[in-house]
C-alpha cells in the first residue's frame, strides 16, 4: 500500500512511518509531498492537516494511528507514543525525559539528509526503543 505525508519529516512522521511499516503494512511504500494536493489518489495520507490520521483531540498522529489500528494494548508502543507526543507537542501531558533528546536528534538529522536518510537512521532507533520498552514491561523495571 502507498502512504503519503509531508516532506521534511520530523519526530511524529518518522515514528508514524516506522509504526506503519512494522505493525500495519509491512510492504508500505512512502511518498513525501510538499503540498497536500500532491497526495496520490491511491495513497493513505498521515500527519497532514485535514486527514483522519493526523492530530486530533490533543493527540499527535502517532497516537491517532495507534488508536485507529487497535495497537493501544501494546505497552511498549504506548510508551513510545508518550515520548513522541512530548517530543512533538511538548505539552507536559506525559513524563517523558527521553523526548527532548530524541527531538534534537531528529532535528539534526533533517539538517544533514533527505527524508529517506532520516528514515534509514530512525527505523533502527525505533526498533531499539521498542525492544527496550518491551523488556522494561516484562521486567517491571528499567532493563540493563
Amino acid at each position: 500500500m502507498k502512504w503519503a505525508t509531508r516532506a521534511g519529516i520530523h519526530i511524529d512522521r518518522a515514528a508514524c512511518a516506522w509504526l506503519i511499516r512494522r505493525f500495519v503494512d509491512t510492504d508500505a511504500e512512502f511518498v513525501f509531498v510538499t503540498d497536500p494536493a500532491a497526495v496520490p489518489a491511491d495513497a493513505t495520507p498521515f500527519d497532514m492537516r485535514g486527514v483522519e490520521l493526523g492530530h486530533h483531540h490533543g493527540d499527535c498522529s502517532f497516537e491517532t494511528i495507534l488508536r485507529r489500528y487497535d495497537l493501544t494494548a501494546d505497552p511498549a508502543l504506548k510508551r513510545i507514543a508518550e515520548i513522541v507526543h512530548e517530543a512533538d507537542l511538548d505539552d507536559e501531558r506525559f513524563d517523558a525525559p527521553e523526548a527532548p533528546g530524541l527531538d534534537v536528534v531528529l532535528r539534526g538529522l533533517s539538517m544533514i539528509g533527505d527524508d529517506e536518510h532520516t528514515m534509514a537512521v530512525t527505523n533502527p532507533v525505533f526498533d531499539g526503543l521498542y525492544e527496550y520498552y518491551r523488556r522494561a514491561t516484562l521486567l517491571g523495571r528499567e532493563p540493563a
Binding site: H10, R49, H55, D90, P100
Partner: protein, 174 residues
C-alpha cells in the same frame, strides 16, 4: 577562510517571513477558546489583533500553527494560515521587540526566584533548581529573539547547583 566559518549575521535589510494564523471560534462554549489561547500563549505568539496572531516563519512554527488551525476547525471554528512579510522593517522590529520584552519579563522572574533560593537548605534548593530549569526550557522554546536577560537567568539558575555554589576545595576535601 574555510567554508564553515560564517561571517557575523548582517542586520536584515528587508523584513523576514512570518506565519500568521487568523482564527474564529464560537463564543460558547468557552473551553475551546481557552484551550486554543493557552496553546498559542505557550508558543509565545505575537497577537496582532483579536483572532490574528503571528510567529516568525520556520518549518516548526508553521507546523505548530497548522495543528492549532486544525484544532480550531475540529472545535467548529474557522482558521486560515498565512505566510506574510511585514511591509516595513520598522513594523517587524516592533513585533520582535514586543516578543523579546515579553520573554525578558519571564526570564527576570526566573532570575529573581533563583536568587531568592540561593540560601535555601540543600534539598529545597535542589527542588527549586529542577523547577526553574523546567521553566527556563519552556521559556527558551518560545524565545525567538533572545534578550540579554536569558543568559542572566540561566546563570542564576545554574548557580543553584551545589557544584556551582560550593568552592571545589570544600566539596572534595583533600
Amino acid at each position: 577562510m574555510t567554508d564553515d566559518e560564517q561571517p557575523p549575521p548582517a542586520p536584515p535589510v528587508s523584513p523576514g517571513q512570518w506565519v500568521l494564523l487568523s482564527y474564529r471560534l464560537p463564543r460558547e462554549p468557552s473551553t475551546p477558546r481557552i484551550t486554543v489561547w493557552r496553546k498559542l500563549k505557550r508558543l509565545g505568539v505575537a497577537q496582532i489583533s483579536d483572532g490574528l496572531i503571528a510567529l516568525p516563519a520556520d518549518a516548526r512554527t508553521r507546523e505548530q500553527l497548522e495543528w492549532i488551525a486544525e484544532e480550531v476547525t475540529d472545535f467548529g471554528g474557522t482558521a486560515t494560515l498565512w505566510i506574510a512579510q511585514p511591509a516595513a522593517l520598522a513594523e517587524e522590529r516592533k513585533l520582535a521587540q514586543a516578543m523579546a520584552d515579553a520573554r525578558s519579563a519571564e526570564y527576570e522572574q526566573v532570575r529573581a526566584q533563583a536568587e531568592q533560593a540561593r540560601h535555601q537548605p540543600d534539598d529545597e534548593r535542589q527542588r527549586t533548581l529542577r523547577r526553574l530549569r523546567a521553566e527556563l526550557r519552556r521559556i527558551n522554546r518560545r524565545d525567538y529573539f533572545p534578550p540579554p536577560q536569558r543568559r542572566t537567568a540561566e546563570a542564576a539558575v545554574a548557580a543553584l547547583h551545589p557544584a556551582n555554589t560550593t568552592p571545589a576545595s570544600e566539596e572534595h576535601p583533600a
